[in-house]
């Protein structure tokens, strides 16, 4: 950042940019592209679940030699659910959500000219891009992509004899994820350093918007937990390619005994979930931050219980690293550990409840501006509660026994982290679109997008709980082998129809997004009348964010409708009036 006037070429401005705003856009567009693939896959396998015997030309068209007369093969079904999960969790909701908004907002909201290391930030994005490319390439491998589930438990993921996707497909999956983790670590370190060191004058930690708190803590969780997944991936690569036995032991497959001895798949599960569980908070915390900000701004009220909100973010982050065993209650792990993990898991409900109540209270006696971002934020609170509450069933080891790995789980985590985080991402895109592209998104299309999505999402995931409670395991290619589940077939058709409706609604978003980039109404400097610093920068992007001095900060981010002020918002840069108390 030493030289503000150096000449930018097309390459340095749009491709290998070190400007956090451009990198945010790169993350967003890549994330959306991966999201389209991930959602499209879910449409394909939902067709299979609803009509297992029926032939579909769309399946014939896209699945090549993995289908027969328009009916997909069991292996590609498993591959689709695997890659759907991988893409949505990591590529869309980790990189696409956190990557976009941490990059965009951290410098802008703390008053910094850029990230601490612009170069590292650029490398981080391009590693993410590379890992996306490898993941997409893995879809075209002859034997099909990885298909052992997104949790890639060995031995299934280690042995090509066990499932064809565990050949080249799994190799590429592991390579892609290893690169992804490197990217994510670089990003996270950058976010942490930037928040700690580059805050403008007056921006105390207790004046930071909750978005920044969320991104900051998310980055810490990422740094703590992602390396463990990397080690698990490396050990798995060793088992697969170099004959070690970290996770494998006593295996007899296709008529022969393999040489592995002494390893344990349960060890892999521990390593995987040591990241895997914090990962869901890596996904949801940024969404929570975004939603806190948008609900306060659009309710024209201060966020209720600002310090409690920070406290609960930290509590959730801490607890998130000691609850991983709740994914393993019936893994064969010592039942005593199950008791411990039940205790820590249900503790998480407390800070989560505090957050939910605080959001609702923030809306109470507000003057709610129904912008699209606000609608999605309300949607977020709703799905977070609906999905979070069933966590009381799954987090309780005793109750988990009979619903573990059924559709009840699928319904739970899709609502609480999938749909919720996607809503948070949509809310963020609608709200900060003017900061990203200097233009506004259309509100009518936004409303249509929201209402169709919200009805479809509940239409999909509410009935799905019952499918799980009927005892139907997840990842079944078809239920036709069990007359017991014949009565679930109708529910599955309803779910698939809502899924298609919801998927189709995203076309409205895509149209709105891409058209608005070019044709949207030019944004004004502070369209939502928000308090935070990013709205004091010029609409047109400038390298270094503020053309002159970085403004100093005099108050917290939530002085909405504060008595004694003319307007119903007070920028953080406004000095306290004489005798005015800081909230």
């Amino acid at each position: 950042m030493s030289d503000h006037h150096h000449k930018e070429t097309y390459i340095t401005k749009y491709v290998f940019s070190t400007d956090h705003k451009m990198i945010a856009k790169q993350y967003l567009v890549t994330g959306i592209f991966m999201g389209v693939i991930g959602v499209f896959m879910s449409m394909l396998f939902r067709l299979q679940i609803a009509w297992p015997d029926r032939s579909f030309t769309i399946i014939e068209a896209f699945l090549g030699n993995h289908q027969d007369g328009g009916v997909m093969s069991p292996d590609i079904y498993l591959a689709l659910v695997t890659i759907h999960g991988t893409i949505m969790v990591f590529f869309v909701l980790t990189a696409g959500l956190s990557g976009t908004f941490s990059n965009l907002l951290i410098p802008l909201q703390i008053g910094a000219r850029d990230m601490a290391s612009g170069f590292l930030n650029m490398v981080s994005y391009w590693l993410f891009f590379l890992s996306s490319v490898i993941m997409v390439i893995s879809l075209f491998v002859e034997a099909g992509p990885a298909s052992a589930g997104w949790t890639i438990y060995p031995p299934l993921s280690a042995l090509p004899q066990a499932i064809p996707g565990s050949g080249m497909g799994m190799t590429l999956w592991l390579v892609s994820m290893a690169i992804f983790i490197a990217s994510s670590l670089m990003g996270a370190l950058n976010y942490i350093v930037t928040v700690l060191n580059l805050r403008t004058v007056g921006m105390k930690m207790t004046r930071l918007p909750l978005t920044i708190w969320a991104f900051f803590v998310t980055a810490i969780i990422g740094v703590v937990s992602f390396p463990v997944l990397l080690s698990a991936a490396l050990l798995l690569i060793f088992d697969r390619s170099f004959g070690t036995s970290f996770f494998l032991s006593d295996i007899f497959i296709q008529g022969e005994v393999l040489h592995y001895q002494g390893g344990s798949p349960v060890l892999f599960e521990h390593l995987f979930w040591f990241l895997g569980h914090p990962e869901v908070y890596i996904v949801i915390l940024p969404a929570m931050g975004i939603v806190s900000e948008i609900i306060a701004c659009n309710s024209r009220k201060p966020i209720f219980g600002y310090r409690a909100m920070i406290g609960s973010i930290i509590a959730i982050a801490f607890l998130s690293t000691i609850v991983w065993g709740h994914h393993m209650f019936v893994s064969g792990m010592n039942p005593f550990l199950g008791s411990v993990f039940t205790f820590t898991t249900l503790l998480i409900a407390i800070p989560s409840a505090v957050k939910a109540f605080n959001w609702i209270t923030t809306m109470w006696k507000g003057n709610i501006q129904m912008n699209t971002a606000m609608l999605f934020s309300i949607g977020f609170v709703s799905t977070f509660i609906s999905g979070g509450l069933t966590g009381l069933v799954l987090g309780d080891s005793a109750l988990d026994i009979n619903v573990h790995d059924t559709y009840f789980v699928v319904a739970h985590f899709h609502l609480v982290m999938g749909v919720s985080a996607i809503y948070g991402m949509f809310a963020g895109v609608y709200h900060w679109f003017p900061k990203l592209f200097g233009r506004m998104m259309n509100k009518t299309l936004g409303y249509w997008h929201f209402w169709i999505t919200v009805v479809a999402a509940y239409g999909v995931f509410f009935p799905m709980h019952f499918v799980g409670l009927a005892g139907l395991p997840r990842r079944y290619y078809a239920n036709t082998a069990f007359p017991l589940f014949d009565d679930v077939a109708d529910v599955n058709i309803v779910i698939t129809m809502f899924a298609i409706l919801g998927g189709a609604a995203q076309i409205i978003f895509l149209a709105n997004f891409f058209i608005s980039i070019y044709k949207g109404k030019k944004a004004t400097q502070n369209p939502w009348k928000s308090n935070t610093l990013e709205w004091t920068t010029p609409v047109e992007h400038v390298h270094g964010n503020w053309p002159g001095e970085i403004p100093a900060v005099h108050r917290w981010a939530y002085d909405y409708s504060k008595p004694g002020h003319e307007e119903d918002y007070v920028l953080q840069t406004t000095p306290l009036k004489e005798g005015e108390e800081e909230s």
Binding site: A398, V454, L510, A511
Partner: protein, 335 residues
């Protein structure tokens, strides 16, 4: 090639939308008072839809749920489940109502100023302490059930059964006269000895290998699970029982069957569910279904994961004893 066609079609649709939307006024971007009003009302309407969907689902889909538990341990599971579910539904009903109601009630009006209300220690204390107390109760209750289910050490004369998983079928082995399973390892798999039982172990000789699982009513059954290839999960939903089968180690789960297959077939909920299923099957021209307990695989294990099952029959203890007497022991089978 058709894929290309689909992609082209998608592009055409996109262009069409582009054209239509450019006619639309892209200038309307910020919510007006009118928008606040409409969207606020829509939230109220959605609230009604939301509760409607919940009630509808409960009414319409209750029939597909699992019938009453068929094991003693499962009964305490069901009670814990009911308590938790009632709690969940109460909290769900209240919080969602408040959310949608506030969205409706406080929809923006021009010139109204929101209430500046940033903090209340009292309120926050309430909604930290109340969930904490409720959860403490739930944790204690849940853990007491968990310990009961997972610790079968005080069972008198339990039946020991090994359940053996492989792609994509199940086998089982009863411990025989001595009620002690012989050692086993996949390295001993040979010919008819498909579970790799170690025939040099004297405990193994009287073990009884079977392809159909029969359990006596009223006697605690301790299952020992093994897998020969990948992870599987032995899921017996009617008994509220599940445990993963892990290659290289033996895992365990126990329950006491409390209803024979015959008794379960006469259970009201089972009858209603089976009638529902048979109505659907009749429409499709399939033969009639009769209820049976099942063991199914519930951990992704490969292509035929969706069809890895074994029938379980629960019968009175004397019937079970008569049946098992007629089964061949390992010694007889391997001979």
């Amino acid at each position: 090639m058709t894929a290309l066609l689909y992609i082209l079609l998608a592009i055409v649709v996109a262009v069409a939308i582009w054209q239509v939307t450019s006619i639309l006024n892209f200038k309307s971007v910020i919510a007006t008072e009118k928008d606040n009003n409409t969207q606020g009302i829509l939230f109220a309407v959605f609230g009604v839809f939301f509760y409607g969907l919940m009630i509808f689902s409960f009414v319409k889909y209750s029939i597909i749920l699992l019938p009453d538990s068929a094991s003693v341990e499962g009964e305490s599971y069901d009670t814990l489940y009911m308590v938790t579910m009632v709690l969940i539904l109460v909290v769900q009903a209240i919080t969602q109502f408040l959310l949608f109601y506030f969205a409706f009630k406080y929809r923006g009006i021009k010139d109204r100023k929101a209430l500046f209300y940033a903090d209340s220690h009292k309120l926050e204390l309430i909604w930290t302490v109340v969930p904490a107390v409720v959860l403490a109760g739930l944790v204690l209750y849940g853990l007491s059930v968990w310990v009961d289910v997972m610790d079968p050490s005080d069972a008198e004369n339990p039946l020991i059964v090994e359940v053996y998983a492989k792609q994509f079928s199940w086998e089982a082995r009863y411990a025989g006269e001595d009620n002690e399973l012989g050692l086993a390892n996949v390295r001993n798999i040979k010919g008819i000895n498909t579970m790799g039982v170690d025939m040099s172990d004297k405990n193994a000789l009287d073990d009884i290998p079977v392809r159909e699982l029969r359990l006596p009513k009223g006697r605690k059954v301790i299952f020992k699970f093994r897998s020969q290839d990948v992870l599987h999960s032995a899921y017996m939903p009617h008994f509220r029982a599940q445990m993963n089968c892990v290659p290289g180690m033996v895992t365990q789960f126990a329950f006491t069957p409390s209803l024979t297959t015959e008794e379960m077939r006469l259970n009201d909920k089972t009858i209603a569910k089976v009638d529902g299923i048979n109505k659907i099957r009749a429409e499709k021209g399939e033969d009639t279904y009769e209820f049976d307990y099942l063991l199914l695989c519930n951990k992704i294990c490969g292509s035929s994961h969706y069809n890895m099952q074994m029938k379980i029959i629960v019968e009175e203890e004397e019937d079970f004893n008569a049946w098992i007497k007629n089964q061949k022991t390992m010694a007889q089978v391997v001979q």
